[in-house]
Symmetry: C2
Subunit: 326 residues, 2 copies
């Protein structure tokens, strides 16, 4: 198994109140670059900035890294439009961060990102990959893509209170700016991403399509952004087995069953038992913050599958957390 | 321990007869990109091209990868002017491949490459790093740098018959084109690289200086290119403990003792006992081909230090070799 993190940015994250993937909007642009470093090195390297939510919830990269330190798996990071440099090694897909979803064409290079990722996905030697993402604002662009495809617009949020009416308003603005009706991009996933998505979705879907085409099993590790990715894979005409692994925090926030059933995706939900840990690194998750990201759900499924005990994982999470905030 | 591979290119490799790091000069430009993929993924990914010498000796990346599969260590690849894209994740240092050492200024961006690598070296969280290199033509630029610094010009070769008189002629041409006397760059390592080196040396030395400055132990894994890197570190005024780990093939080719003594470098030489393996993947090394590269000597020292047995390593090398050439 190889874990592939697709990291990037969208100007959509700059909309006030849309994302909690950073202490504030200025800090948020650094989150994906820092997440990649935490996953690869165990701590941020380019700066001492550790991504936290405005309320202080640490990035899910802490959890994914803790799993990685426990069970061990190789990581590749794909740069799908990072807004800031990262000291983590990356494979460059193409181009700059995505524009605001309310722009007519927020991802003009969607085809190039998709194709570069597809080629890599075809050629990766592993039998199985788990794909994660890090992109603040990504649930809103996911909602935009689901609308463009005409799929159920279920989305979760990194905020404890999902700003759903704001997201709906932003998506309506995006559809109008892109001159799109709901469902108009059905069967044309690249156009859906180009008009309503973000470059990370283009990378995730390209990678998944290439991998599946070459017989590599794919697990999408994440929440509703990965639901949008799964929908894009299906609209690309790929009908093979596809898995989605997410956290119990996402599953508690949105009802995933109807959408995964209609997309014929195998769903795995893992509860990391953070409520029993009684530590500040995990407490805010139990109150509904963050929920997912950086492949956290995928990593937790691997952990559970390896037979690991959650109390031991909690200790490891505390170790990683202390390293970051010492 | 983290293994850092600095990968790049120099037009010096295009000089007929100077390097065996590729089946021919056209194939050679792909070698560093493919080496990075073999180290990271266990096989080339971007193309099916496996680097071999003109006589068919497989790249030392096979050996380093086999050690990695046996003992396990994290890898970061730095792109110091790769001539071809690689599917391996890389941290970009700066700029394009280096020019021909016979140009007046073959590495105009030496300062930028050095500084980017130095910052990374300072910030890496590990207690210890092993640095390897892959750059065809690198022993010639190493000789050029040693001449510019006024150090002993001992260099090995990837060819069984070291084309020393050709290298000397090329270095003389380089000194003349750069308007340099021997030793004129003493105390000015960046100028030595800029005028007579290659971008990989700039990256290796920047990384080593940054790491040593921040208290991280550094092992240079390689042959005479790493001797040049050690000389550059010393000419940067760094006097702390520095280790060089190489193969018995390099040690059999050149007498390293005087130079490592004068540079105050701890030398470790490992004999991987390929003569007892009796397999085509290793046989050409025993006849003096390849000798080093992709941190092979550093990897072998790690392997020996972990208590691994060489017959077991031979089996693993055969496994990697069969995967590449099947």
């Amino acid at each position: 198994m190889r874990f592939v993190l697709v990291a990037g940015a969208t100007e959509t994250a700059g909309i006030e109140g849309i994302s909690a993937a950073g202490a504030n909007r200025a800090a948020m642009v650094h989150t994906p670059s820092a997440d990649a470093e935490i996953l690869v090195y165990g701590a941020p390297v380019s700066s001492s900035l550790v991504p936290v939510s405005p309320a202080g919830c640490p990035t899910p990269a802490v959890v994914t890294r803790a799993v990685r330190e426990s069970v061990g798996f190789p990581v590749t990071v794909l740069d799908a439009g990072l807004a800031r440099p990262t000291a983590a090694p990356t494979v460059a897909l193409a181009g700059p961060p995505g524009g605001d979803v309310r722009d007519p064409v927020p991802v003009p290079n969607a085809t190039e990102v998709f194709e570069t990722a597809r080629t890599l996905g075809e050629r990766l030697p592993e039998d199985r990959i788990v794909i994660g993402e890090t992109i603040p604002g990504g649930t809103t662009t996911a909602m935009g893509v689901l609308a463009a495809l005409g799929e159920r617009e279920v989305v979760s949020s990194s905020l404890a209170e999902n700003p759903l009416s704001l997201k709906r308003e932003v998506v309506e603005g995006g559809l109008a700016a892109s001159d799109l009706e709901r469902g108009e991009c059905a069967g044309d996933p690249i156009r859906a991403v180009e008009r309503m998505g973000d470059p990370v979705l283009a990378g995730v879907v390209g990678l998944a399509v290439g991998a599946l085409d070459s017989g590599t099993a794919v697990t999408l590790g994440g929440g509703t952004q990965m639901v949008a990715a799964a929908a894009l894979v299906r609209h690309a005409g790929i009908e093979t087995q596809l898995s989605l692994s997410t956290t119990s925090f996402v599953a508690a926030d949105v009802d995933l069953d109807p959408v995964v059933e209609s997309l014929d995706v195998s769903l795995s939900v893992t509860d990391p038992e953070f409520a029993t840990a009684n530590h500040e690194s995990m407490g805010r998750y139990t109150r509904g913050e963050a929920k997912e990201g950086v492949g956290m759900g995928g990593a937790l499924t691997e952990y559970a599958g390896s037979g690991g005990s959650f109390p031991e994982l909690h200790d490891r999470i505390v170790t990683v957390y202390d390293r970051l905030f010492r």
